[in-house]
């Protein structure tokens, strides 16, 4: 694999057998991630995001296919992979009875760091993740957002080449989510770590990821920057209101000619259509209509979201997909979440 490729998978596949029926959680995953990228797996519950991460982090073996992570083969040399990656799972990484600072120091020891080195690194991470005031609290006394920040610090103690984050912000209130993301972005800028995360929040993938892999039913169905995905797959939603109803038919055919898309009638004076790069097309369309003596009173262009991309790819919206998915293992994760909430 090229020297700047940190993750490379070849037809990585995972099947589970549940009550004698086979479930293919991940099918033929073949991706390459370059050093320093921030990649997001976006997909509904049950899409196979966690399973992919669990294979890449050596927690479970693939059924077939292979992968190398940080220079090591996940099956031939799992301990090589482990020593070079950080992993923040869907749950909370700190043990409920341990103090924040102690957990970071122990983690350093687990990765073979000497006393001085791990103390330095612990202090550094406590300060960069703003954990100072909780450093001698036990994990069970932390809020959800604070726990998540500790989890990320734990994942970074040994300066891994790749940091895997499984739904880092799920279950947090909007403010803690924003705060967590600020930290992720800042840490990446500071350490240049490759970050590979999963999310089912569209807005997060859109806003923070440099590269989005859309995952559905175990397959990656799109892989690009959010901007390119939106431009190529979804297009802008354009709405035009005309001065007179009698112009509607002619305007509609002009749209069809220029945008190559059929326009939908909203009411007797309003047309709506979706077109790739629609906002770039709009000025030309307005000139053309003007030329034909058709006056446009209002024109709006709404850029697409990743949900539109998901809709274009799968025929369902991500929100609907999240609702309909019978999420068997997720139920146990939900239990985890309520458990975390209660102190013990």
């Amino acid at each position: 694999m090229p020297s700047d490729t940190v993750i490379s998978t070849q037809s990585l596949t995972k099947r589970f057998t549940v009550k004698k029926t086979e479930v293919t959680a991940v099918t033929d995953l073949s991706i390459d991630v370059r050093r320093g990228e921030l990649v997001a797996f976006l997909g509904p519950n049950g899409a196979g995001k966690s399973t992919s991460l669990r294979m890449l982090t050596t927690l479970i073996p693939p059924t077939s296919g292979g992968a190398s992570v940080a220079g090591y083969d996940i099956e031939r040399d799992p301990s090589g992979v482990r020593s070079r990656i950080g992993y923040v799972g869907q749950g909370s990484s700190g043990s409920f009875s341990q103090r924040v600072r102690d957990e970071l120091l122990s983690q350093g020891a687990f990765y073979g760091m000497g006393r001085r080195e791990r103390t330095q690194r612990t202090d550094e991470l406590i300060s960069s993740l703003e954990l100072e005031s909780f450093a001698s609290r036990t994990v069970q006394q932390l809020s959800g957002g604070q726990k998540r920040r500790l989890d990320i610090a734990l994942g970074l103690v040994h300066a891994p080449a790749v940091l895997f984050l499984d739904e880092p912000s799920t279950g947090l209130d909007p403010q803690s989510r924003a705060n967590l993301w600020e930290h992720i972005v800042a840490l990446r800028a500071r350490y240049g770590t490759t970050v590979f995360l999963t999310t089912h929040y569209l807005e997060e993938a859109d806003r923070y990821a440099e590269r989005v892999m859309v995952m559905d039913s175990g397959r990656v169905i799109a892989d690009d920057t959010a901007a390119t995905l939106k431009a190529n797959l979804a297009g802008d939603a354009i709405t035009l209101t005309l001065d007179e109803a009698t112009h509607l038919a002619r305007a509609s055919s002009a749209v069809e000619r220029l945008a190559g898309a059929g326009a939908e009638r909203r009411d007797d004076r309003t047309l709506a259509f979706t077109a790739p790069q629609g906002s770039a097309l709009l000025p030309r369309l307005l000139r053309e209509l003007d030329h034909e003596g058709i006056r446009v009173t209002t024109a709006t262009a709404v850029p697409p979201t990743l949900d539109d991309v998901f809709l274009a790819l799968t025929g369902r919206t991500l929100r609907d997909a999240d609702k309909t998915e019978p999420d068997s293992p997720e139920t146990s994760n939900d239990e985890t979440r309520t458990l975390e909430g209660s102190t013990r």
Partner: protein, 261 residues
Amino acid sequence: MTAALEARTVRPQLARDTWNVLLRELKPMVRDPFSLIFSLLQPLVFLGLFGPLLVAQSGQDLATTLAWFVPGVLVMIVLFGTGATGSNLQYEMMTGSHERTLVAPLSRPALLIGRALKEVAPIVVQALVIVGIAMIFGFRAHPLGLLAGLGLLAVFGIGLGALSYSLALATKEHEWLFWGVQQSLIFPLLILSGVLLPLDGGPGWMRAVASFNPVSHVVEAQRALLGGSFGSSEVLWGWLAALLVALVGLAVGVRAIRKSS
């Protein structure tokens, strides 16, 4: 500055990793030693309420009764405290911190052995507190016998702890299953060991079962050791039973942790 760290590849090493896991497990205890004393409440209740009953029933004096009963209470600490320690691991499995340790470059057996070894610390501290309190009421233990007795409890505790962790690994997120199995094993083991009541007057089958119960042998050896008799056959059988529990526990536990994901 991260460049020096970046190049490092750490390989699992059983001894070093066991040591690091053990140190981590000891931290909550060192930070909050009072939690240990708090969990002594139950054995103290037994000592305080059961002791007088035993005195009344046997017609022997308090010191003689304590010499018989205190070793049993010490074994009970191990049964109830160490036998339940798997629930900590189970909780860490449910919250995700166990998963984090599985992704670290640690030797898998070390994750279990380190945890099991940690059990020695609470056992020794709690046993000494109980012996100290019993001494106020006239209990006397042979000093070297006490030392050997603590060693015996430690070995037995490592095995029982490893079994408790194995049960946690086997029952995964099903807390009810862990406690169900744990309780339905601990109580028969306790009663069929003669810790609380002598089995001498019990039915034959009970005595037969008790002779296969490692807990009985550990209790009898404990009584002999605290009484200062080192060379008796009870002591030998007690050590054999404790070592057997430790070996079986560690073997089962290491197998279970290797399969954990």
